[in-house]
Amino acid sequence: MTAVSTPAVPASEEEARPHKGGHLKPSYWPFVLPALLVVGAVILFPWVFTIWMSLNEWRVGSDTSFVGLANYIRLATDMRFLESLWHTILYTVLSVVAPLILGTAAALAFNTKLPFRGLLRGIFVMPMMATPVAIALVWTMMFHPQLGVLNYLLSLVGIPPQAWVFHPASVIPSLVLVETWQWTPLVMLIVLGGLAAIPQEPYESAQIDGANAWQKFRYITLPMISPFLMVAVIIRTIDALKSFDIIYAITQGGPGTASETINLYLYSVAFAYYDVGYGSAIAVVFFLLIILLSLVLLHLRQRAAWSSGDGK
């Protein structure tokens, strides 16, 4: 038993550190290699291959030919792509802002000592647990201009029937309504976590200084939960950007192309028109946009952390 040797364990801290320039010692490579292979196979290779496809005229069932940046140039003048880009931005902004406001309000409400608070919280988070396509089918029936329950409810208060997802002007706000219904609870949970972490002392001081409820919220609560709000913004933005199921199941991007986001357009180009070269170019541009947006959000997240005194 005493003869067991442990050669892989470094003799000192110095030995454990990577070599200068960040290189690992050769003896460590066998441990890292499997992970590198997996990352290379499932992340790196698909991306390199997607970029390669985007530089080719590549249609399923036809010969491929190298076209350089032609697919990217085509994107710049493709009105349907530009329109889908605008729809994506609009849908994302609304799908982030609405749950953020409502989720924060709900968190503030659930942070007070409401009767049946636990039960109400449980009911409130239920939409989040439902399957998106099932939700979409139910909402499609609810949106029906003649047979849907929403227009029936409006008629009870004297409001004329609306076309909801069946009209180009109202389709995106209607889809955002579904998104908001489902994801407001997520924001509520995140913000609730932030509220629980706020100490009572600043509120007591503000009370002595004669601050009203709005002032306490504006100058104490909001700055202190802003890092949590930024987390919610990042999660919701990523979620809204990649949203496909609900839009596809309810409108398939219609009426016309009024709710077609980049994801839906990409799906049509690659899997309905089988133009994988052009579809790949859309995917690459979309990926770059997401990276850019993520960097901006991460920067804002850090700023929010600094301004709330948490500079770490």
Partner: protein
């Protein structure tokens, strides 16, 4: 004179065949399956790729009968239409598909499959008396069916399975209340639709698909009445001709002046719901959507529905036609066994079941006109009559091109824009210009 597909039938063979069929009939052998050596490929296993639809489900349900008849083992797979199309294209492009038999949508996939040379030529099998039942004669199939089945060189690449003619469903009660008769022409159709419309009572004269892509066949069906196909035989787009514009204006008038609110987002399901509620005078769509209308659990218009053939356009009367076929893959190493499956799928027995269960409509006239088969049809006789009459005036709804989906999307967006008040000529010109390079590229590749 009827003709066995690809082979002239002499008086001698006709008498011999009839005598043999009669004899076998007396012996209790099912006539439709009498002459073929069904057991020739016993022990073989074939893979079948079907779309998840009432047609696919019917084939799967009775698959055991085929296995008992032939001794061939069938592995069938059913996937939803969109996914099945994607899977088929990817596998067939690879050159090694995992299936021997494929169920295809002619109106979407015909040209793509021809260009890819993905389907085997069945012409030789159809001439082989050991493989093909003598009742399989070309004249028995609706003209559209054979047009779908043959490639540009006239080779038969698949067997026509189920046809979908576009007809006009109408609510007899609403017509009677306004003392109106079923329209005979396009002009009468527009007038009748407007006369039936009363938004205050939430009653509308007409409904049809407004959703992008799904709406294109509605418009191309109207174009057929103007004697104008969407793509001419030389491959030229006819979608910005005066006839196409007039058809688009008709679409615009009907859907903006006589249709329910929100029709721009309606696919067939929403149209069907509106009609089932008894609030719509006329609904224009495929015959395959009829069964729920006569189902008391789903419909408020049971017994009140009329089934009308598409009225005559300014130039001709035409019933727009789409359909399914079933074929053998070129890469299959079990082509004969796979062909037997296809033949069984479109046999009179299976065709009768298709019709009687409301799963579809066979392309074969001998089934549609068979009094015994008709007796078992659950739908009203008027529906069967509409189907039979439509068969006589059938024309293909959509162009036989590779990028059908892109065609439907591009034209569909233009049509949806019309519902928001856009100008028909300008929209169709834009859509045609947008689609022209796509079409050219597809045939060049």
């Amino acid at each position: 004179m009827s003709e066995i597909i690809g082979k002239n039938l002499t008086r001698r063979n006709f008498l011999a065949t009839t005598a043999a069929a009669g004899g076998l009939g007396l012996m209790g052998v099912r006539p439709a399956f009498a002459n073929v050596n069904w057991k020739k490929f016993a022990g073989t296993t074939i893979d079948v790729n079907l779309t998840k639809s009432p047609r696919g489900e019917l084939l799967t349900k009775y698959q055991k009968e085929f296995e008992d008849l032939t001794g061939i083992k069938v592995n069938s797979e059913m996937t939803p239409e969109q996914q099945q199309r994607q899977k088929a294209v990817i596998e067939l492009t690879s050159g090694k598909p995992s299936f021997d038999v494929i169920h295809i949508s002619y109106h979407v996939q015909k040209r793509q499959f021809e260009k890819g040379r993905w389907l085997a030529d069945l012409s030789g099998f159809l001439k082989d008396a050991n493989l093909t039942d003598p009742s399989m004669v070309e004249s028995d199939f609706a003209e559209a069916g054979m047009a779908f089945a043959k490639d540009q060189q006239g080779a038969i690449r698949s067997l026509p399975f189920s046809v979908d003619y576009w007809i006009v469903y109408y609510n007899k009660d609403l017509f009677a209340k306004k003392n109106l008769a079923f329209p005979k022409t396009f002009a009468e159709m527009i007038d009748t639709a407007q006369a039936l419309t009363d938004p205050k009572a939430q009653t509308y004269g007409f409904v049809a698909r407004g959703q992008k892509n799904a709406n294109t066949p509605v418009w191309t069906s109207f174009m057929l009445g103007y004697d104008m196909p969407s793509v001419d035989p030389s491959g030229k787009l006819m979608t910005d001709t005066q006839e196409a514009i007039d058809a688009a204006k008709m679409y615009q008038t009907l859907l903006t002046k006589a249709s329910p609110t929100g029709v721009a987002g309606f696919n067939w399901a929403e149209c069907q719901s509106a009609f089932l509620q008894g609030r719509v005078g006329m609904w224009f769509d495929g015959v395959g959507f009829a069964p729920p209308l006569e189902d008391p659990e789903k419909s408020r218009v049971v017994g009140k529905v009329g089934y009308g053939v598409m009225p005559k356009g300014p130039k001709v009367q035409a019933a727009a036609t789409t359909g399914d076929g079933i074929g053998v893959t070129e890469a299959s190493t079990k082509k004969e066994a796979a062909y037997l499956y296809c033949q069984w799928a479109i046999s009179k027995e299976m065709g009768a079941r298709l019709l009687q269960t409301g799963s579809g409509v066979p392309f074969r006239n001998s089934i549609l006109n068979d009094a015994e088969v008709r007796k078992g049809v659950k739908m009203p006789a008027e529906w069967v009559d509409a189907v039979a009459q439509s068969a006589k005036i059938s024309r293909l709804t959509l162009p036989v091109i590779i990028p059908v989906t892109e065609f439907r999307d591009t034209m569909g967006v233009a049509l949806t824009n019309l519902l928001a008040g856009a100008d028909a000529a300008a929209e169709l010109k834009r859509a045609t210009e947008e689609f022209k390079p796509v079409l050219e590229r597809s045939e060049r590749a």
